[in-house]
Symmetry: C2
Subunit: 346 residues, 2 copies
Amino acid sequence: MRALPERCTGIFRGLALGALLAFGVHAQAQVDPLPSWNDGAAKKAILEFVQATTAEGSPKFVPAAERIATFDQDGTLWVSHPMYSQVMYCLERVPALVKAKPELAKVEPFKTVMQFLSGDRAAIAKLHEKDLIKIAAATLTGMPVETFQADVKKWLAEARDPRWKRPYTELTYVPMQEVLRYLRASGYKTFIVTGGGQDFVRVYSEATYGIPPEQVVGTAGGTKYGYGKDGKPFLTKEPKLLLNDNNAGKPEGIHLMIGRRPYAAFGNSTGDRQMLEYTKAGDGARLSMLVLHDDGKREYAYGPAQGLPDTKVGAFPQALYDEARKQGWVVISMKDDWKRIFAFDP
Amino acid sequence: MRALPERCTGIFRGLALGALLAFGVHAQAQVDPLPSWNDGAAKKAILEFVQATTAEGSPKFVPAAERIATFDQDGTLWVSHPMYSQVMYCLERVPALVKAKPELAKVEPFKTVMQFLSGDRAAIAKLHEKDLIKIAAATLTGMPVETFQADVKKWLAEARDPRWKRPYTELTYVPMQEVLRYLRASGYKTFIVTGGGQDFVRVYSEATYGIPPEQVVGTAGGTKYGYGKDGKPFLTKEPKLLLNDNNAGKPEGIHLMIGRRPYAAFGNSTGDRQMLEYTKAGDGARLSMLVLHDDGKREYAYGPAQGLPDTKVGAFPQALYDEARKQGWVVISMKDDWKRIFAFDP
């Protein structure tokens, strides 16, 4: 369900409550905007932040036009284990590459990827970062932007997560979807700020999160404007990195694409540290939150903070945990703070 | 006056007209949304485009979420003669630079700029493009983003256009402001796509055009995340070009910052050609328009299209005029199509 379009709430505030009720729009004051959250410090922090920044007369009131909230995606809004969805997309595009250029079947890293996809799950351990960069360049660049968008759309419709056997777009966290809707209903403009590919996430952000493409900031490459044989202009995705939207690249990307400092930011790993720090360093009420994956039963358990198992995918080290405590960032425990994780949970 | 927030119109369409009238919100069908436009092909093209893309049941109907319109700024939304406002900003920042580093007074191109500002208007002709790049780098980079924003704000409050002796932000075209408001009231999200500096235009875009910073795409440099002596993080403007938002850079910038093809685009010079071409190449109803400065009395007259005087600032050559005719782009004659140009016109 899509929430109210952003920045419309001001109009509603301008109408008398009695008149609104006459339309059958009921006052929401008594309705819990975060029903999938257990009572606790995390839920309280969100409710208090919204109250402080949106209640007329509040000393920390923020004008509607300045209400910006940013969300990391992988591990913050949806599942990122055992592997980032976009990495799975890149790996699963390799057979089509090999079909188009059969000689690639004998060339690394494509040979290893083909072994992995044929069922040799251990083969994946052979791939190093430089291999992944090579695979990313081969599967994410060199085609018209529309071709890429159509390929991602098709893959999303067919691909299934290995554990829940569901489309990746169903693996979003209900409590975070509630935060997105609650912030928008409170006049906040919500942005995704992801280390993932900007063009990749934009394909499904509107349907999945109610966030339009122009409010997705991500790792971005250049495009090149050119003309087809029919004389029609089109853009080709180029292997030229413009923004590495991780670590310091997150506040830099926020400045490039949004142009103002967020009032609220949500992340789950080291790559989000600078975004949370930059957000919290602003004046007035600012909210910085981190999702800790401490629920091995309902989702996954990894840190290595708080003695949780270590991981190479979206690590939350103890140093980040300590930093959060020191800086007043709020850590969300999936296990304790979330009543429900997925929409398909019983 | 700010127009209705974008994308709110869908809500209003959802309410019965009778109910709206009960609130004193009157139907606008009979009200001319473009009162500063004379009847003619240009006005007709805008009205027909909006009708075709927003009327329920129209074969060219565009869903509200996809309604994107892009506007060049200099020469399209406000005056760009005799010189771009941002170039004036850069030149007028030179005395402060020289005050901070007195040795610059003897170094070119700063020496020439100081002569120009002292009244030697002819000195400016000595400056070449490489000089302007040097001046731009010295005045637009090297400082924290907040310092730059404060400097631009201060300059805008004090600087006066040489002809009308008014703040630059008053030199916007009323007919184009009407188009911005009309499109927004019709569910379009309006963006500026300017060859000017993104950070510069973002300082005043909301107050001047009702366009928030995150909807300004412009020539953009990188920033660098770092920490002050107090440990607080901040972003420094770097002399590293990420996007040259002119010519092919306009559609490339639109893809980077917006992620979808516009349905309507407005420009006035060669630098806008690819944006208009890219817009018009999309499916369905698309509107590409060019402002022709053919009104030397009320504003300026330059082309060199249609025998108008040539210029180095925002030229509209005959080839662009011919291209417009061939591609079905609509040329707006300031002289014939606009009843009124400025808000301060009698």
